[in-house]
Amino acid sequence: MRRSRLQGPTPRRHAVVTLILLAAAACRGAEPAPAGEGSPASAPAPAGQIEASPGAAQAWPASKVPGDTVVAAIALDPASLDPFWTYEIGGLSIDRMLYDRLVDFEREKPDAFVPALATEWSTAADGLSLTFTIRDGVTFHAGGTLEPHDVAYTYRRGLLQDRSGGPMWLYLKPILGVTSITELAASHAGPTPAAGGDPPALGDLPAAARQAACQAVQAAVTADDAAGTVTIRLAAPTPWFLQLVAMPYASIVDQEWMVEQGDWDGTCTDWTRWHDPAAEETVLFDRANGTGPYTLAGWKKNESITLEGWDGYWRTEPAWEGGPSGPPRIEHVVVQNIEEWGTRFAKLQSGEVDHVYVPLPEIDQVEPLVHAEHAGGDASAPRTVVRDDGILTLFKGYPTATANAITFNFAIGTTGGNDFIGSGRLDGDGIPPDFFGDLDVRRAFVQCFDIDAFIRDVMRGDAVQMRGPIIAGLQGYRDDSPIIAFDIDACGASLAKAWGGKLPATGFRLVAPYAEGWTEAEAALDILADGLSRANPGYKLEKVQMPWPTLLDNINNRRLPLAMTGWFEDYHDASNWAYTYLHSVGANSGSQGFPPELAARLDTLVDQAATELDPARRDALYAELQQAAIDNATAIFMNQALGRSYWRREVEGWYIHPLTPGTDFYSLSKPAP
């Protein structure tokens, strides 16, 4: 899911951007969040570190939260609770508790699975179909009984609803080989439109084509109530498909209840009525009827969400050793949306909450409250007691599936004028639109970016440098692969070579916008500008902060010369990263305008690697892609974030799952002291 991309966390009040902005915030800080080695407790406090500001000897107030309740104060509110609609941390982190999936991740592992609503499953020998046996005796919160047709309905509804900008492309691609349901319908209407042509709107397609698309979806996911099974057929083998089955998007709903509430009736006659709805137009927008351990007790929009433990929860055996079972031990969960950091922090200090999201720049302020640190994503990680009188447990340094990069625009848009490239010529007061078409320019920009300063000062050490688009631990990642190092002299030399050697004499000037409130992006651009001006005072990069509407308009017209982007992976596989940063229609690379030759080569490699089944060959293909990204300097691949999460000492059972946003409240408990 695109994280922060061009936006960062807002200064508290812009709901505008807020949904995602804040999603990005939570993603970086709250749960799947960055961290780093951090300074060991014994090390002298770095300059400017706050030494136990409110008095070292002060005893912190005891927790005011009852033992059966957990209160978390974050800076984020769901855009929608419809699992198939929402594509942001806020909604998913709640859905994860309200619903169940066919399978679950085995605790923190991204690639090991345990039974959930499916008791067992099997993959056909050709890898093109999966069959799930559905659990008996599971009831929904509103009273319905889980049956296989509910599962089929769930998947079909999601695929057909296919909200524009939503998560369904993740499922459409493996199941039907398309990226949108409109594309599927269009393929039934006749020859596909020429590349570059606008795809037709769904309503403009013949009824028969729409009918055919729906039938294709019906055929791809089938239920057999008598046998108690559901079968999903795939268009191509997809090694990561089970991850998608375990993600909160694939939360199972009750067909009868949904139809009763006025959602899609399950037939093909009128399905487009429920296609691409606005957030509030779906039944599941602010209601839920799942099978999960918690029921939705209330959602006060933009304020808080209250979950109540469900006594009728089906799970009687732990899913993994030491895992939870039975009704939740924490009976009430309150997730508050508090955007003002000062207020959040004060509530933490006075014991009103068990958990707060701490933005990176504020971590030194929380230091005096920390009792013990775990160097990892759960309590099994090595523990150091920092302060006896602290009230918090800190988990830090665990890798997250989020990363940042600054992408170059090879073909900067000039329709409607473009202030970001100044004169538009190489006269010292601008850059030509194809400035970044020159490999030496791109290499130079990477060489001028002081990645160490960024990780040390901006990420506070909570990050590791990337070696290309693919993050550590995935296929194709080599921790000794060559990268372009920070080197001002080399940067100057590269720029002297570029554009026929004209640059040192003329200089250049360009403007790089960033979303207001995204402090990391602002600092990154400052660091880049600093490096360039050190190479030659005539190399000028100016940053400019922008409200989201202005930014969106410029992005749509491809006017940004370069842009800071973030990514929070959708599934744990190199293909997600390669597609995002290298494919010509990837989420981040799609607007980079790679020249045809490069685009063709990268697209071929990305597609080939995704469908390759042999692990060794797959690994080699991704290594080649990783190298191609560096050789072509398509972007400044900056950092993979490390996580950091703060909890009251008395809360036990927390762990982080790198893919699933939010907290598994079902695993938490507050044992009596």
Partner: protein
């Protein structure tokens, strides 16, 4: 014949007495004079710091950044007032922010004042349907709570890619909803003045409406409005800071006290340690507003014991 003496002369005398004889007013005047001196001397007081020479662009209002750490630095030799969370030099920001404060305060008040006086005087003098329409328009604008309206307007104006980078959106927004009080005030006075003897005399002498307004009516009614306006300058600067709090003022790193303060609010939990983030820009802001209030108070006491309704905000 006393009736023909425009009241302005007597008022002027009282004014001089109020400003010189009143200790509080003298303090206010000294404060404003000091700020004015700082504003004028900004290029010499706070030249581009050597440590950040590379970051000084053509626009001196962009506060140079010294390093990229997000931990603010306490005052030191290199940074007499310390640095912000983004390593902007606070001394530089406070000094250049003085210019911004004057610019913001005066450039909001003046247009609002001119427009309000024009509308109010015209309405009061013309009377009839002109007055009726003008006062309904005033009521429409007054139906918006001042600060809330400014938030809405600034939000729209700042979307413009060029204008949005300046102080203009917030200033225009505040001025747009600040003129009504002046219009009402001067209209009431014009209503009474237009029946005065010297106005009749001018009219009898064949002077046109515009000339009468300019030469006789406005000069004799404008003082209370000027007093109200002088009291509002500080309020506008505070309201501008309030807009900055919501991210609607100026971009980060612009030399503006309100913006620096708003940027410091995430460090308020640690103010014991990061006091300099609030103390210097906050102190400047409070003293500046105080200066205007003291001077305005004295003027008001001298001219009219009643107060006109001013904008609320900040």
């Amino acid at each position: 014949m006393t009736d023909r003496t425009p009241p302005a002369t007597a008022a002027g005398r009282r004014l001089r007495r109020a400003l010189v004889g009143n200790g509080a007013a003298r303090l206010g005047a000294v404060l404003l004079a000091a700020f004015a001196a700082v504003a004028l001397a900004a290029p010499w007081l706070a030249p581009c710091p050597a440590a950040a020479a590379r970051h000084c662009g053509e626009d001196p209002y962009r506060v140079p950044r010294d390093g990229f750490s997000t931990t603010p630095q306490p005052p030191s030799a290199a940074h007499p007032f310390g640095t912000t969370t983004k390593q902007h030099d606070i001394f530089y920001g406070v000094v250049w922010g003085t210019r911004t404060a004057f610019k913001v305060g005066l450039l909001i008040t003046l247009p609002a004042l001119l427009f309000g006086v024009a509308v109010g005087a015209a309405a009061g003098y013309a009377g009839g349907w002109v007055d009726e329409v003008a006062m309904r328009v005033v009521e429409v604008f007054m139906a918006f709570p001042f600060f809330v309206a400014a938030v809405a307007m600034a939000s729209v104006l700042r979307v413009d890619p060029v204008v949005g980078q300046s102080t203009l959106p917030a200033m225009v927004a505040l001025a747009s909803f600040g003129w009504m009080g002046y219009a009402r005030l001067i209209r009431a006075d014009v209503l009474s003045v237009r029946e005065r003897e010297y106005v009749w005399a001018a009219r009898a002498a064949g002077a046109g409406a515009g000339r009468i307004l300019r030469r006789h009516v406005v000069p004799n009614t404008v003082f209370p409005v000027l007093v109200a306006a002088s009291l509002d300058v500080g309020t506008y600067v505070l309201a501008f800071a309030g807009l900055s709090f919501f991210g609607l003022g100026v971009p980060d790193g612009y030399a503006d006290w309100g913006q620096m303060l708003a940027g410091a609010r995430h460090r308020v939990p640690s103010l014991g340690h990061d006091w300099h983030l609030v103390a210097f820009p906050g102190g400047a802001l409070v003293l500046f507003a105080l200066g205007w209030t003291l001077v305005g108070d004295a003027l008001r006491d001298a001219l009219d014991p009643r107060m006109g309704g001013g904008p609320e905000g900040g």
